[in-house]
C-alpha cells in the first residue's frame, strides 16, 4: 500500500485543516506521501511535512499549478501515479474538478466524498443527498477518492517528513486562468468553523441577511445559507450548505428561517449541536434540532444576538 495525498492550497499556502482531515482518512489506507503542487510553495510544503505521520512530501513548483487548473494538475498526478495504490484529496472544489479527470486517465473509477474507510479497498460514501450510505468495494488497481472533510478529525502536527522536488509535467495550454473573485472576510471558513449560523428563505431579503451576519459575528461564526436563500438571491452561492453546496459539521449549527429541505439537512445534520429558529412549528428542521425555538426570527435573532 502507498497513498498519494494531494494537498489543498489557498493560493500558495497550505489549507491545513482540509489537508489534515483528508490525511486522517489517507493514513487508514497506507503510508502517505503528500503532493504539494502550486507556485511558490516552499512554506506550504514545510507545513505539510510537519503533519503527523506524513512519510514524504513531493513538491511541484510551477506556474502551471498556481490556480488549480484541472488539466495540468491531472497530467502531473498521472505522471507520478506509478507505485501508488491510492490517490486521495479532500473534497474541495479543486479536487472535485481534478480527481475524476485523473481517474479516467488511469482507467479507474473515482470514489467521491468518502465518509468512512472500512479497509484499503472498501469505503463508505453518502448517496441521494446523504439519505443513504453506500459501502462500496473497489476492484480497481488504483483507488482514487475525495474525502469528505466533515467526517474526519484533523491530524495534528508532529511530523518531520523529507521534502523532495518533482519535475513539472508541462502545460498543454487547454485552459488559462483569468481571475479569482474571493470574498474577503474576517469570518472563519465555512467548512472548518466551530460555529455556523445559517439563514434560509424565511430571512426574506438580502438586506435582512445582516441579522444572520450580526449573530454570526457575535459568536465568531461562519455564515451559511440554504439553497432556497441562495436561489432567492439573499446570499452568495459559496455560503450554501447542503447536497449541492458545502457539507459542514461544526460544534454548533444555528439554522434561522430554514425549513429543513432534505438537500439542506444533507449538509449539516452531522453537526454536534443544532439549534433551529423558525416560526413554523411543523418545519422539518425541528426533527433534527437539539434545541428548537418556534418564534419570529426578526424578534428572536436580535434578542439572541444581544443576550450572548
Amino acid at each position: 500500500m502507498a497513498v498519494l495525498l494531494i494537498a489543498e492550497l489557498h493560493g500558495a499556502a497550505l489549507a491545513t485543516d482540509a489537508t489534515a482531515k483528508a490525511l486522517t482518512a489517507a493514513k487508514q489506507m497506507g503510508p502517505v506521501t503528500v503532493l504539494v503542487a502550486g507556485a511558490g510553495i516552499a512554506d506550504a510544503a514545510a507545513a505539510a511535512a510537519a503533519l503527523d505521520g506524513v512519510e514524504k512530501v513531493l513538491t511541484a513548483d510551477d506556474a502551471a499549478y498556481a490556480h488549480g487548473l484541472a488539466e495540468p494538475l491531472a497530467d502531473l498526478v498521472v505522471s507520478l501515479a506509478s507505485g501508488y495504490t491510492h490517490i486521495v484529496a479532500p473534497s474541495t472544489a479543486s479536487a472535485k474538478n481534478a480527481l475524476p479527470r485523473i481517474a479516467a486517465m488511469l482507467d479507474v473509477m473515482v470514489l467521491s466524498d468518502i465518509t468512512g474507510v472500512v479497509d484499503a479497498d472498501t469505503f463508505e460514501r453518502p448517496i441521494y443527498a446523504g439519505n443513504a450510505i453506500q459501502t462500496v468495494k473497489s476492484a480497481d488497481s488504483v483507488k482514487i477518492a475525495t474525502v469528505r472533510t466533515a467526517s474526519f478529525e484533523a491530524t495534528g502536527a508532529g511530523g518531520s517528513a523529507a521534502v523532495e522536488a518533482v519535475a513539472a509535467a508541462g502545460d498543454k495550454g487547454l485552459s488559462s486562468w483569468i481571475e479569482d473573485k474571493v470574498a474577503e472576510s474576517d469570518r472563519p471558513e465555512l467548512t472548518s468553523a466551530k460555529i455556523v449560523v445559517s439563514g434560509g428563505r424565511g430571512v426574506g431579503s438580502e438586506e435582512d441577511f445582516a441579522l444572520i451576519e450580526k449573530l454570526a459575528d457575535k459568536l465568531g461564526a461562519a455564515v451559511g445559507a440554504s439553497r432556497a436563500a441562495v436561489d432567492s438571491g439573499f446570499a452568495p452561492n459559496d455560503w450554501q450548505v447542503g447536497q449541492t453546496g458545502k457539507v459542514v459539521a461544526p460544534d454548533l449549527y444555528v439554522a434561522v428561517g430554514i425549513s429543513g429541505a432534505i438537500q439542506h439537512l444533507a449538509g449539516m445534520k452531522d453537526s454536534k449541536v443544532i439549534v433551529a429558529i423558525n416560526k413554523d412549528e411543523e418545519a422539518p428542521i425541528f426533527q433534527v434540532a437539539d434545541y428548537g425555538l418556534v418564534a419570529d426570527l426578526f424578534a428572536a435573532v436580535p434578542e439572541l444576538t444581544e443576550k450572548l
Binding site: 484541472a70 488539466e71 491531472a74 472544489a93 479543486s94 472535485k96 481534478a98 475524476p100 479527470r101 481517474a103 479516467a104 479507474v108 473509477m109 473515482v110 467521491s112 472498501t122 448517496i127 441521494y128 443527498a129 439519505n131 443513504a132 450510505i133 453506500q134 459501502t135 462500496v136 476492484a139 480497481d140 495550454g173 487547454l174 485552459s175 488559462s176 486562468w177 483569468i178 479569482d180 473573485k181 474571493v182 470574498a183 471558513e189 467548512t191 460555529i195 459568536l219 436561489d231 452568495p236 459559496d238 447536497q243 449541492t244 432534505i262 445534520k269 449541536v273 443544532i274 439549534v275 412549528e281 425541528f286 434545541y291 428548537g292 425555538l293 428572536a300 439572541l304 443576550k307 450572548l308
Partner: protein
C-alpha cells in the same frame, strides 16, 4: 457549433428516498422519476446559446434504461433538436458508473463531433460529480466545471466557476466540456405545443454494445444503509431558555 448535452433519468428531487430493508439499495419501483436537475440547467444553457446564435444544433444523449427516452423527450420539449438513447441496463436499479457513461459519451462525441459538451455537474442519485471531468479526460479536451456563466468567445469559452470561497473565471479552448452549477440559469418549463412537437423529433436508439463499451461496474456495492438518525431534541420557550441550554451544553 453543435452542442451535446448528456441527461440522466433520476429519482425526482422531491421524492423521499427509501432504503430497501435488505440493504441492497434504494427502492426505485413505482417512484416518480425526472431529469436530473443539473442536467435541466445544462439543456437550458444549450438552448440559450442557440437562441443567441452561438449554437446551431443541440443533441441530447442519455445512457441508462429504456425508460430514459421520457427524459430525452422532456429535453426535446424544452428545445433540444435531436436525441440519442443508449440502452445500457434493463433494471431501473442498475446505475451505470460515470466511467462507463463517459466512455459511451466519448464514442458518441467522436461520431457527432460537437464543439462543446454541456453536462450537469452531478447527478442527485449517486452524487458522484464525475462524468463531465471523465469525459473531458477521455477526449483530451479542456474542462470547465461548476459553471455559473458561459460566454462563447471565438475559439474559446470564458467560464465563471463556483469554487470554494467565491468565483473563478477561466478561459478554455474549444472543444470543451462544461458542467453546469445551480446558478447558471433557471430552466424553462416545456409548453404543451412544444411537448407535442417533441414527440415528432428524431430519437435514435443504440446500445452500449454498439459503441463497444464494457459497462461492468468497477465498484461493488457491499450494502446500502440508512444514515444514523439524530435523537429527538427539545423545544425551548424563549431566547433566554435557549441561551441557558446552550451554556449548559458547553457550546457557548
Amino acid at each position: 457549433m453543435k452542442v451535446l448535452v448528456p441527461v440522466k433519468r433520476v429519482i425526482d428531487y422531491n421524492v423521499k428516498v427509501r432504503v430497501k430493508a435488505d440493504g441492497s439499495g434504494v427502492d426505485l419501483a413505482n417512484v416518480k422519476m425526472s431529469m436530473n436537475p443539473f442536467d435541466e440547467i445544462a439543456v437550458e444553457e444549450a438552448i440559450r446559446l442557440k437562441e443567441k446564435g452561438a449554437v446551431s444544433e443541440i443533441v441530447v444523449v442519455s445512457v441508462g434504461v429504456k425508460q430514459a427516452q421520457e427524459t430525452l423527450r422532456t429535453a426535446l420539449a424544452m428545445g433540444a433538436d435531436r436525441a440519442i438513447l443508449v440502452v445500457a441496463a434493463d433494471d431501473v436499479h442498475t446505475d451505470i458508473e460515470p466511467l462507463a457513461v463517459a466512455k459511451i459519451l466519448a464514442k458518441v462525441a467522436e461520431e457527432e463531433q460537437p464543439g462543446m459538451i454541456i453536462a450537469g455537474k452531478q447527478a442527485i442519485d449517486n452524487d458522484m460529480n464525475a462524468t463531465g471531468q471523465m469525459l473531458s479526460a477521455l477526449l483530451g479536451w479542456s474542462q470547465a466545471t461548476f459553471a455559473s456563466d458561459v460566454t462563447v468567445e471565438g475559439e474559446s469559452l470564458k467560464v465563471t466557476r463556483e469554487v470554494d470561497g467565491g468565483l473563478q473565471t477561466i478561459s478554455v479552448k474549444l472543444p470543451a466540456v462544461v458542467t453546469a452549477d445551480l446558478r447558471l440559469n433557471e430552466p424553462r418549463y416545456a409548453s404543451l405545443p412544444n411537448i407535442m412537437k417533441a414527440k415528432k423529433k428524431q430519437l435514435d436508439e443504440k446500445t452500449a454494445a454498439d459503441y463497444g463499451v464494457d459497462v461492468t461496474p468497477r465498484l461493488t456495492v457491499v450494502k446500502t444503509s440508512e444514515p444514523a438518525g439524530r435523537a429527538a431534541g427539545i423545544t425551548v420557550g424563549s431566547v433566554d431558555e435557549l441561551v441557558g441550554k446552550l451554556k449548559d451544553a458547553g457550546v457557548l
